[in-house]
């Protein structure tokens, strides 16, 4: 991202002057309210689907955050998502089931992994970053899926969710609300970060790294911070996903996950903090609708992704926000 021709790494529309705030994002508040009300009216299966939307949405928001704040297009977030999930499995293998102990340690492990991958990947910029993150994620996939004690290529079941301070999370509703609270906290932290001086500098870096360097910022260090934060959030989503499915396997680490997270960001709207959440909802709905007709529903997803990239590259969230009379940010 050092030559002028590479400026196209970021679309200019990503950098509107308006700052995101939780209260200002009406579409997101509406969606969160929907998540909160869901267990009261919907049957358990559908509640589970919405829990899934929140978990993948959290990971997708993390991917979007790194793109907006630092211009970092990561095709390797499956590694962090999967690492979070496998930490839950490793803790279980060692006999630990207490969320307050296991989850922070899992996030720490993800942060360390992201620090190493980030340090290496950030040595060059632009397109190479996409390829390198994909490469290292594949390496993590091979290491973990080759480990017999972690279930190798088949994965392992968890037999029950982690305990949160003695409270069982095995009930669908209890876990749904826990994920909702976690998502709310993550979105709050993301909002605060994106409005912080470092967050603003990172937005500048996404737009024009050289100019920010000339202004005296240290782009690489800020980008690394953004990357590690984004990875930790994706890892948290992985921790929640492992508990949701009560199963951990190599599918978490598969490069398809990295791609689908990017698709969610794009479908929802890359300029919006909560875009990934809407993208996750669209993808889950898409799967629900088209898998009615065929198990090969991705035949339709591929062209849909291509068309949306070519013709509506702003995503769904800005349109929704305009519809609800909020600010188009």
């Amino acid at each position: 991202m050092t030559s002028p021709s590479d400026e196209r790494t970021m679309p200019a529309s990503t950098l509107r002057p308006g700052l995101p705030s939780l209260g200002g994002d009406r579409a997101m508040l509406l969606l969160l309210a929907l998540f909160a009300l869901a267990p009261l009216v919907l049957e358990a299966y559908l509640v589970g689907e919405l829990t899934r939307v929140m978990i993948y949405g959290m990971a997708a928001c993390a991917v979007g955050f790194a793109i907006r704040h630092g211009g970092l297009v990561s095709f390797g977030h499956a590694a962090f998502f999967g690492m979070g999930a496998y930490c839950v499995l490793m803790a279980r293998n060692a006999g630990y089931q207490d969320a307050l102990l296991v989850w922070p340690l899992a996030l720490l492990a993800v942060a360390l992994l992201a620090l190493v991958i980030g340090l290496l990947s950030l040595r060059t910029g632009g397109v190479a970053f996409i390829m390198i993150t994909l490469g290292f994620a594949q390496m993590v996939y091979f290491v973990i899926s080759g480990s017999q004690s972690l279930g190798a290529a088949d994965g392992l079941p968890l037999f029950g969710r982690d305990m949160l301070a003695g409270i069982s999370l095995d009930a669908t509703e209890a876990f749904h609300y826990l994920v909702l609270v976690a998502l709310g906290l993550v979105l709050l932290v993301m909002t605060r970060l994106s409005r912080s001086p470092a967050g603003l500098a990172l937005r500048g870096i996404a737009h024009d790294e050289r100019r920010m360097k000339a202004l005296g910022y240290a782009p690489k260090r800020l980008q690394l911070t953004s990357f590690v934060f984004s990875a930790v959030v994706a890892g948290f989503a992985g921790v929640l996903a492992a508990n949701f499915y009560q199963f951990v396997g190599p599918a978490y680490l598969h490069w398809l996950v990295s791609g689908e997270l990017l698709v969610m960001v794009a479908l929802g709207g890359i300029a919006s903090l909560s875009g990934g959440l809407f993208g996750a909802l669209i993808l889950v709905l898409f799967e629900a609708v088209f898998s009615e007709y065929t198990t090969y529903w991705r035949i339709f997803l591929g062209p849909a992704v291509i068309l949306s990239v070519l013709y509506l590259h702003k995503g769904v969230h800005p349109a929704l926000e305009r519809l609800l009379g909020g600010r188009d940010d």
Binding site: M10, I130, F142, S147, G259, A266, R298, L301, G302, I306
Partner: protein, 302 residues
């Protein structure tokens, strides 16, 4: 010694096949600044078409011709319909749209093939082994593939370095506006580069058919390795891509062959059997990390 020679030739064979794939990726990036995730899909399509046509006609050579021609045409269609509108877009858009192509190709072939791995027959006259030096036998088909890939690589070099068409490609890479102003159609150059790159990946798929199992997902395995090659060799440098392909092919093959042997002296057989496969799978990524530390722009970057 015989084991080493065999692994060396296997590594060379694998590296040259990787070069056919990575070359298209590198050329398309060099000329159009496009990152094409669907490049591996063309490798897969090449292999599938060969298996299907060879299976129904009984002739490997008809299958091979069909594999190369179909990937060239598919490349041309994709370029005109989708990829050409992505040149001016962000790399993120390019990644997303070509990821959409992967989803389509994978699922379409999974639907057609039913998801079971297929096996291509070795062409007539290329079965069995040939004695290269006294007491050293090597697969006749692998040797033929090595020679064919080497010939194609040399042809590609000759075309790029010595012909007018190659000059046009190089000129389009460094200054497309000037090429346009002196009266050449840069869009046509782009389309041809993309289609030839697709056919090269298809050719690699054709030749890999009898060597590996032909299945959905084979494209992405080589795509990711091709990315590693492009990073190691240096973005847009075809020379770098060539040497990096050979290096990755050799490191991967020799690593898989010798990691269990080297570990055998240090650990119990059971530990070796469980750790060695994933350890040797990791070697090429360790090589990428080392290159990123020592020379982040790639070994042969200008």
């Amino acid at each position: 010694m015989v084991f080493f020679l065999e692994q060396l030739l296997n590594g060379l064979n694998y590296g040259l096949l990787l070069f056919l794939i990575a070359a298209g990726l590198s050329l398309v990036f060099g000329v159009m600044h496009l990152i094409n995730l669907a490049h591996g899909s063309l490798f897969m399509v090449g292999a599938f078409v060969t298996v299907a046509v060879a299976g129904s006609t009984g002739s490997f050579w008809l299958g091979a011709a069909a594999g190369i021609v179909s990937t060239f045409l598919i490349g041309l269609v994709i370029e005109r319909l989708i990829v050409s509108s992505l040149y001016a877009r962000s790399h993120l858009d390019q990644v997303l749209a070509t990821f959409g192509l992967i989803l389509f190709f994978n699922e379409f072939l999974r639907w057609l093939s039913g998801g079971t791995p297929l096996f291509a027959p070795t062409p007539d006259g290329f079965g069995g082994a040939i004695e290269i030096v006294d007491g050293f036998f090597y697969s006749r088909y692998r040797l033929a593939v090595t020679i064919a890939a080497l010939t194609v690589a040399a042809g590609l070099w000759f075309m790029l370095a010595r012909t007018k068409a190659g000059m046009l490609v190089r000129a389009s890479a460094s200054d497309p506006a000037m090429v346009r102003h002196i009266g050449f159609d840069v869009r046509l150059v782009g389309a041809m580069v993309f289609a030839v790159g697709a056919a090269l990946a298809g050719l690699a798929g054709v030749m890999s058919g009898p060597l590996v199992s032909v299945e959905v997902g084979m494209g992405e395995q080589v795509l990711i390795i091709a990315f590693v090659i492009v990073v190691v060799g240096g973005m847009g440098s075809i020379k770098g891509t060539f040497w990096a392909s050979l290096a990755i092919g050799l490191v991967d093959t020799l690593g898989r062959a010798y990691t269990p042997v080297l570990m055998g002296g240090l650990f119990e057989p059971r530990t070796v059997a469980s750790i060695a496969p994933s350890l040797s799978a990791v070697l090429i990524y360790v090589l990428m990390a080392a290159v990123l530390i020592a020379r982040p722009q790639g070994l042969f970057a200008r």
